[in-house]
């Protein structure tokens, strides 16, 4: 088996905004789906300031636990090459959302089947290599309280991966790229 040396990462830079985000990128859940949940929050830097030029991607199993995903996240028009939006039936499992001028993002998705978390990748201007993290949803976690990753973390670190249930089907999850001295830095993950 030939092991190839990887192509290095480089920052997404400041100008991805007209290239990577796409309409309905933040809503894998079909409109008016009764099970849809909203996960929202802010991305902060090490001074506690919001990061207005971060891009987050979410990947997750379908509600049935399927991990195959489906094409069509960025469905296009063959007529004018514009974006059509998702087809309203297939669950692609993929979301992409840029933070706004306040460093805020929101995604609307369906609860993942079989695991209590959404997988997240964070890109930003100033970040030379993307970061992996996870959003653990408290309801799903209550049903399956043992999780190898969470169990391996000290309490204050563990807490950075837990979304706050703010209301019915609404969760808060802030990403802290670096501690600002008051708030704990988010746990970021390595997959070797």
């Amino acid at each position: 088996m030939t092991v190839r040396r990887p192509t290095p990462s480089q920052t997404v830079g400041p100008f991805y905004g007209y290239a990577l985000p796409f309409p309905e990128g933040e809503t894998p859940a079909a409109a008016h789906h009764p099970d849809a949940v909203t996960v929202h929050g802010n991305v902060h830097d090490g001074a506690g300031a919001p990061v207005p030029d971060a891009l987050l991607e979410f990947w997750q199993p379908g509600p049935d636990g399927s991990r195959t995903g489906a094409p069509g996240s960025m469905r296009r028009s063959p007529t004018d090459a514009g974006f059509l939006g998702r087809n309203g039936t297939d669950f692609t499992g993929f979301a992409r959302v840029a933070t706004d001028a306040d460093g805020h993002f929101a995604v609307r998705t369906l609860p993942p089947g079989g695991v209590p978390y959404l997988s997240v990748v964070v890109f930003a201007r100033g970040l030379l290599h993307h970061l992996h993290t996870r959003v653990y949803l408290p309801r799903a976690l209550a049903e399956a309280p043992r999780d190898a990753l969470l169990d391996s973390l000290a309490e204050e670190r563990r807490r950075t991966l837990l979304a706050d249930e703010e209301g019915e089907r609404r969760y808060r999850f802030d990403v802290r790229l670096q501690s600002d001295g008051t708030h704990e830095e988010t746990v970021f993950l390595a997959f070797e």
Partner: protein, 262 residues
């Protein structure tokens, strides 16, 4: 006549060059001490000033779980791209200004297997070094015939191809008189979310290479070379375009690897 007292002294290119040299020396010492080569940038690479407050200071937590969701990943298909997406010179009424260029290569995983049917996204500045982005205030002309965004799906052999124009260098404000070498941004998916990659492709022989803290954040010389495309005369078309070849290797484990490794 002189700068106001509250203005901090300008951060010069020579100061940044000295920081880059110090980072390289520190890396050479690590190698001499027998530590393995590092392929990716250190997220806290100080010569790139925007990284200072935007990198974690705690070590990453290793996940070694064969059931991790990240070992699978999003998929894309024919509904997600259109035929013209891969030709950035044909997205407007007229042709853009600049050097018509083709960039082609293969997307492979770290075992050398082709990544098939996956999404490749690119974006870049125009020939004058200006992005079609509101926040780019470089006083270089916009080109009404060039947006600078492309997409394609890889073929059965992992191949991708784009037709575009060669982007220009552009100024930025990391330090005084900072210029970025010409580059094309690439976004890539593998078969697993762990293989996700966003990077930049450079053109060979650019005199700005030694002065650019983003490229130099890859402190390993041979890893840095892997970000530079090769001019390939066999890919040039007579009286039409210049051709470059750039292969991409995605890092990170994939689900297929886990199956084979069991």
């Amino acid at each position: 006549m002189s700068t106001r007292p509250q203005d901090p002294p300008a951060l010069t290119q020579s100061a940044i060059d000295a920081e880059i040299a110090a980072e390289r020396d520190a890396y050479a010492e690590r190698l001499a001490d027998g530590l393995p080569p590092v392929h990716h940038p250190d997220r806290g690479y100080r010569p790139y000033r925007s990284s200072v407050l935007r990198h974690p200071e705690q070590p990453l937590v290793a996940v070694d779980d064969p059931e991790a969701v990240e070992l699978s990943g999003p998929v894309f298909g024919v509904t997600d791209v259109t035929a013209l997406d891969s030709d950035l010179t044909r997205q407007h009424l007229h042709e853009p200004l600049g050097e018509r260029t083709t960039v082609t290569g293969r997307v492979l995983d770290r075992e050398g297997r082709p990544v098939r049917g996956q999404l490749v996204e690119v974006w870049q500045a125009n020939a004058s070094g200006r992005y079609a982005h509101q926040r780019d205030d470089h006083p270089a002309p916009l080109d009404p015939n060039f947006t600078g965004v492309g997409r394609c799906l890889t073929g059965e052999d992992g191949a991708y191809a784009f037709t575009t124009i060669k982007p220009g260098a552009y100024p930025w404000r990391n330090h005084d008189n900072a210029w970025r070498p010409a580059h094309i941004h690439f976004s890539l998916f593998g078969t697993a979310f762990t293989q996700r990659l966003v990077t930049q492709m450079y053109f060979p022989g650019d005199p700005l290479f030694p002065h650019d803290p983003i490229l130099q954040s890859v402190t390993d010389e041979s890893a840095r070379q892997r970000l530079v495309a090769a001019y390939d005369h066999s890919l040039s078309s007579p009286e039409w375009s210049l051709g470059y070849r750039w292969d991409i290797v995605l890092d990170g484990p994939s689900a297929t690897w886990v199956e084979e490794g069991r």
